[in-house]
């Protein structure tokens, strides 16, 4: 590729935790896109018959599969709340630095609460797996 001059990038800025909340939004989005593949696979297995569904249960019901499901619940909770933060910015609200730092903290706390509730319901509330 042609070498062109580049404008200053992330390295020139002092780290602020709102940077982390920004890149994590992207990362959780990609993680959830992978989850979409699992969702389709799960539905296709359920539509294909008991033998196919047993394979899906063996994969998603194993230790690694359960870890993935818990991870998707956390990723979803974060992407939901940070997405609401983005929609609020799109209305032109909350764009000041101190407001962005404040809303980032709210997103992290709300994520822990919602993901905790989902993980409790999924793994500890006695629903047979």
């Amino acid at each position: 590729m042609r070498q062109r001059p580049l404008s200053p990038h992330i390295g020139v800025y002092k780290f602020a935790y709102t940077m982390a909340t920004s890149i994590v939004h992207r990362a959780t989005g990609v993680v959830l896109s992978v989850g979409l593949l699992a969702l389709a696979g799960w539905l296709i297995a359920a539509a294909s018959g008991p033998e196919a569904y047993a394979i899906a249960v063996a994969i998603l019901g194993g230790a690694f599969g359960q870890l993935l499901l818990a991870g998707w619940l956390v990723a979803f909770s974060y992407h939901l709340f940070n997405g609401l933060r983005h929609l609020n910015w799109d209305l032109g609200r909350g764009l000041e630095k101190h407001e962005a730092r404040h809303s980032a903290a709210i997103v992290v706390v709300a994520t822990l609460l919602l993901a905790g509730a989902f993980i409790y319901a999924a793994f500890f509330a006695g629903v047979p797996r």
Binding site: M1, R26, G29, V30, L32, S33, L36, L37, L39, A40, L43, I44, A46, A47, S48, P50, Y53, A54, V57, L60, G61, L73, F76, L80, G83, L84, H86, L87, D90, F118, A121, A122, A125, V127, P128, R129
Partner: protein
């Protein structure tokens, strides 16, 4: 003097000539997904997912197939727009970038068609009390 109307000048701006449609649809799908994803996550964490018959009965019950189809469509659309931006941002090599964009587009379409077919097949072949 230009004979182009002000509207004609602003429609389809940007390097992809799509105007604001990508940005706008990302927001439209995100708003639709607030209730749909919360509904889906709530349902799935309370569903005995290891039980084949109970999962199929849930998929086929009431208006669940409608919500599932809307959910799959909105998620795939939103995901396709998001993954597109990630690919465009992080893959500088043009051949690799275009290949990845094509693969992502095709994969998302396959997910929508196959996932929707699975939901409909379960709905039309399972008879539940719900």
């Amino acid at each position: 003097m230009s004979l182009r109307s002000p509207l004609g000048k602003v429609l389809g701006r940007g390097s992809a000539k799509q105007g604001v449609s990508h940005w706008w649809m990302q927001r439209v799908t995100s708003i639709a997904l607030i209730p749909l994803t919360l509904w889906f996550a709530y349902q799935v964490v309370h569903l005995p997912t290891a039980n084949y018959d109970e999962v199929r009965a849930w998929v086929a019950s009431g208006f669940t197939p409608v919500w599932l189809l809307l959910f799959i469509g909105a998620v795939a659309w939103h995901s396709s727009l998001g993954v597109q931006v990630v690919i465009e941002d992080y893959i500088p090599n043009k051949a690799a970038k275009v290949s990845a964009l094509l693969a992502s587009t095709f994969l998302h379409i396959v997910v929508v068609v196959a996932g929707s077919y699975a939901v409909l097949r379960i709905a039309f072949t399972t008879f539940s009390a719900g």
